[in-house]
Symmetry: C2
Subunit: 189 residues, 2 copies
């Protein structure tokens, strides 16, 4: 078994006139928003040419905070992206402050889980809310965000998703979020 090459871990999020998700809202949460666009596409790998519209990139990576017992619980309960019933999606790009990145690992874990229950809150909404985290900070290019989180859920789980994001935004970890945009989509059938 070998690690997948980065081409399999790199994802592009393209806001444009066409795309397989129809954007229903682009809302600023903290800091500068993103331009409103009619559609969004998620495309894996390296693009051969710069796309029309806006373009965010992120890479999936090893987990930075979860412990083995948490990972076991996550794996047992989570479901993948692309479920038939997942007609709704959200892309939430986030940039954290210099104060966050200056903390040591034990301090960041303390804020993220002991103080904020980030992992615990996410578990509460499994398997309804499927999620994939993409990292941007170490891509080696100037990226406007540190993380891009992609969520998928059904129409019945809309209220649950609002609860999830509200709980995270009310947590001490969010004191370290200096830019956040909330993009909501429905699948273009």
């Amino acid at each position: 078994m070998s690690a997948p090459p980065p081409a399999d871990r790199l994802f592009n999020f393209i806001g444009a006139d066409i795309g397989n998700w129809r954007v229903i809202r682009v809302a600023p949460v903290v800091g500068e928003t993103l331009p409103a666009v009619p559609c969004l596409s998620m495309v894996g790998g390296t693009l051969s040419a710069p796309p029309q519209g806006w373009h965010l990139r992120g890479i999936t990576s090893n987990e930075r905070y979860v412990t083995r017992p948490e990972k076991t619980e996550l794996v047992a309960r989570q479901e993948g992206l692309g479920r038939t019933g997942s007609t709704h999606a959200a892309l939430i790009p986030i940039r954290k402050s210099a104060a966050w990145w200056a903390m040591t690992q034990d301090e960041r874990r303390d804020v993220l889980e002991a103080q904020s229950q980030h992992i615990r809150i996410g578990l509460r909404y499994l398997p309804a809310i499927a999620r994939r985290l993409h990292h941007c900070r170490d891509l080696g290019t100037s990226e406007p965000f540190d993380f891009l989180t992609w969520f998928e859920y059904s129409a019945q789980d809309l209220a649950a998703f609002e609860e999830l994001v509200a709980a995270l935004r009310a947590s001490p970890e969010w004191n370290y979020v200096e830019r956040e945009v909330d993009v909501r989509m429905v699948r273009e059938v």
Copy 2:
């Protein structure tokens, strides 16, 4: 205070016919080696054109394992790169196995420090051996290594440097190293 843009954190290591460090040895430790070259240069930022010779890239990032007490001790004792007396340097590119990356944060920290004393061993050689770690795994391109560590030291600290690398290579953490090359240099005056 804001985080430095990636251009300030990205470094290129170029093995070629000319350069500011003269290469005295390119030795395989585990797996495929790198081609022998007369010289090596370390160049910050994004290159405008692909260089002659071989080219490795890495990015400095937040620390992944050190705790606050360890960080305090490191900061108090370490010295920077570029000291007048640092006439010797080593570049040690490493690739870790899929088994390493599949571990959770607590498991990796356990192997790295509880079992291997990686941080403790490095502290023992401060300030003599200056060090900077560069990450490659999440650059978003296919990189041959996961980490590039750059070391600088004086001629009197040659034996100490051999002790340091021997201690790390004998540790349980090194069971997860699937490729390692050891490049040694002296400064070209």
